[in-house]
Amino acid sequence: MSFDEEMREALQTFIIESLELLQDMEECLLSLEDGDDPTERVNAIFRAAHTIKGSSGLFGLDHIVSFTHVVESVLDALRDGKLGISPELVAALLPCCDHIALLIRNVVDGQLDADPAISAAGRELIDELQQFLQPGSVAEKAVTVSEKQDILEASGGGTMDSGNWHLSLRFGPDSLRDGMDPLSFIRYLSTLGSIAQLTTIAENMPIADQMDPETCYLGFEINFKSGAGKEEIEGVFEFVRETSTIRILPMDSEIDEFISLIKELPEDESFLGQLLVKSGALTKRELEDALNLQGEGDTEDGGQAAKSKQPIGEILVEQQVVQQPIVSAALDKQKQIKDNKARENQSIRVDAERLDILIDLIGELVISSAGVNLRALETRETGLLETTGEMMRLVEEVRDSALQLRMVPIGTTFSRFQRVVRDVSKELGKDIELIISGGDTEVDKSVVEKIGDPLMHLVRNSMDHGIETADLRRQRSKPARGSLRLNAYHASGSIVIEVSDDGGGLNRDRILEKAVERGLVQHNAVMSDQDVYALIFEPGFSTAQQVSNLSGRGVGMDVVKRNVTALRGRIEVESQIGMGTTMRIHLPLTLAIIDGFMVGVGKSTFVIPLDQILECVALPEDTGDREYVDLRGEVLPLIRLRPLFEIDCEPPRRENIVVVEYAGNKAGFIVDQLLGEFQTVIKPLSKLFAHIKGVAGSTILGSGKVALILDVPSLLEYVGSKNALVPPSLSQHSAQ
């Protein structure tokens, strides 16, 4: 793999991770105001921003870095308690999240540099954020914005040019005898930087007559300013290292620097010592010494063994090679790495495509095992039947667990609505609270992807038309704050998603009135509540007196219905006037495999989705050429599949009716044989068949033959439009 490719892959990971982080960030931001203890969430937000900044830096996405940096500064101030959590702050930060997401999406589109228009928008956001940073008593550390110098001045005290390293040198007594002049080292040291301050330590110097002129008694405390790293400085004293005590410590003002360095380290080292070495706070030699010391301690203690082993961190602090705060930071980092490792073990990121391939293969396995089973049944060999029976059971288990792999909790989809509800309620001037429950209900990923839009429509609709204004709510003696509930649960092999509000409810009379006005129903039609409520899903139907920019134009609900139907789901409406409305979406758990019902017409086999079938009855022999039958007093229009599908062979003596229902419309398909239920693995049909009506897809039978899956809604529509076999307002028939 070339470097470029690797980078591209890494970039892909970065994008995915960043978008996820942004989502987390948004969620946390939204929950900031109402939570009890926001610390953890503030930290989480900060971490997210920080990670995004760090990784974008890695890819040289400087525009993202600079923008995120400001956001991070604000968050830092928030974390340090310099800023309070306020709705204004949250409101200012949310668009920033969006902006970062926008920047990252642009990266996806291959735009690696700043776009002038976008960065202008970014600047506006930054200006807004700056307002939060400025008024605080002193800008202090919060404005870590531009230069490092600022920090030094702010925390280092005064304008004194202080160094960034503290060197503590105690030359060994034999240094001079060995030909090592301490002064030459200090001179050499000054080539690496400037010595800001030097104190000579002469406490060890004995009185004159006891002094040995060849012995070195001197020590130095040096305040050293240099861009060199610890390792480099240590190198200066290479020759006296053995006999002397050399301590090189960062100055207090630099400790923060190291701490932040440690925090930014990539998470691949989990040893404390390694972490410190990486950050430059510790040199390799110091680490080795400390490890030796640790080892010695071990052998000295002998029997007490590993338990009494002194932690390396403690040793390092004791030996004064690093300061406590740095060690603590490194320890924190170490813990974080461990946590992350633990989390990684729990989940693996898998390409969705690979999963799809697996599911496809398992679909084939189901089909071919059905074939095997068929053959086995023909042989009537008990041993074979037993083994195939066992295999079938296993295959089914494999299928179920494979489908499980694609299941994702619906919670992520739900939590997106926190933001929507917040924004829309501001826009509408209503106070609306979103209550989410059942977020861990799992559903197929493909369903989750497609349910977002319909849910969005329903939520907006509920907020706009359902929930009343605060004044009206008070009049109706309801709490001024409206509530919107999103709920999900499993019910008999399907997932149910509820969107409910405690608003005004649907006005049955007004809907009917509107429907009559538009000619959808007859004036004196008697309809059940369900039927009336179903009218709101008619295209162009709206009872709203005002058209807002959110909804009310009557587009939307029919789209919702169409989308839900496309997922082979259905919508139920439950409403009580004055109390609220609940929209209930029933969806199949998966799109890849359905329960089908096989029917035979001539030599062909068709599969009808089981959930659309109401019942099967024998075709009365006296039907003749009539296109309807009397089904327990109800008129049931008939669709003869034989002529429709141009299957030319004589119909058998006895034919059957499969009664299907779609959107309140009932119809009967006339077929030859009823072949029973069948687990149907849906295979898409070639594009060649894109234009045919009435066929939803295909499946492969146990015999290896292909069977077509009938698309009941489009078949009804097709036949209806072809020769008006199905009256357009069938629902009236069923109600009368």
Binding site: L644, L688, I692, K693, G694, S698, V706, A707, Y718
Partner: protein, 183 residues
């Protein structure tokens, strides 16, 4: 591989540019045709075909090719020469095509042939430009004519003959297209 199929796909742009190479020859309604070997995936016996209703006659149906559902086209019907009669030697040649619409994803299509002959090497000098008429099929279906053993072999242009877009548009019944108008 993709690159290769692409080149054959681009051929129709330039006229009579059938390249030398290996071709699979087959018989269909007494005429010998040839297809570039690079487009051909496999040859199977005719059988287990499921008819798809409401499709034009040249789409015979679909078959199960090891788990994927592959449409089968009757070339004779596509050429307007009536439906192929199924006989003992009838086979289905699975051809890989590049969908000429959007993504350009690859799609397998089976074609019904009376009998499969052989794989032959056809050199450039054997290839003649297609006549503008006289073959009885649309000139744009032909890439060239090759002389083999004293008779002509029609070198087919896979991209045109099995154009998914064109075929699926043909399958729109007038009623369907009406519905598409308002939908």
């Amino acid at each position: 591989m993709t690159a290769m199929t692409k080149t054959t796909d681009q051929l129709p742009a330039k006229q009579h540019t059938a390249a030398a190479g290996q071709y699979l020859t087959f018989v269909l309604g007494g005429e010998v045709y040839a297809l570039g070997i690079l487009n051909i995936k496999e040859i199977i016996d005719y059988g287990n075909l499921t008819e798809v209703p409401m499709m034009p006659a040249f789409v015979r149906g679909v078959i199960n090719l090891r788990g994927s559902v592959v449409p089968v086209v009757d070339l004779a019907a596509r050429f307007g020469k009536g439906c192929t009669k199924i006989a003992k030697r009838t086979g289905i040649v699975i051809v890989e095509t590049i969908a000429d619409s959007e993504e350009g994803n690859q799609q397998d299509i089976g074609i019904i042939v009376d009998a499969v002959n052989e794989v032959v090497d056809i050199s450039q000098q054997e290839i003649e430009p297609p006549p503008s008429f006289g073959t009885g099929i649309r000139p744009d279906f032909i890439n060239g004519m090759a002389k083999r053993d004293g008779r002509f072999v029609i070198l087919l242009n896979v991209g045109r003959v099995l154009s998914v877009e064109e075929m699926s548009n043909l399958s729109r019944t007038p009623l369907n297209s009406e519905e598409h108008g308002d939908g």
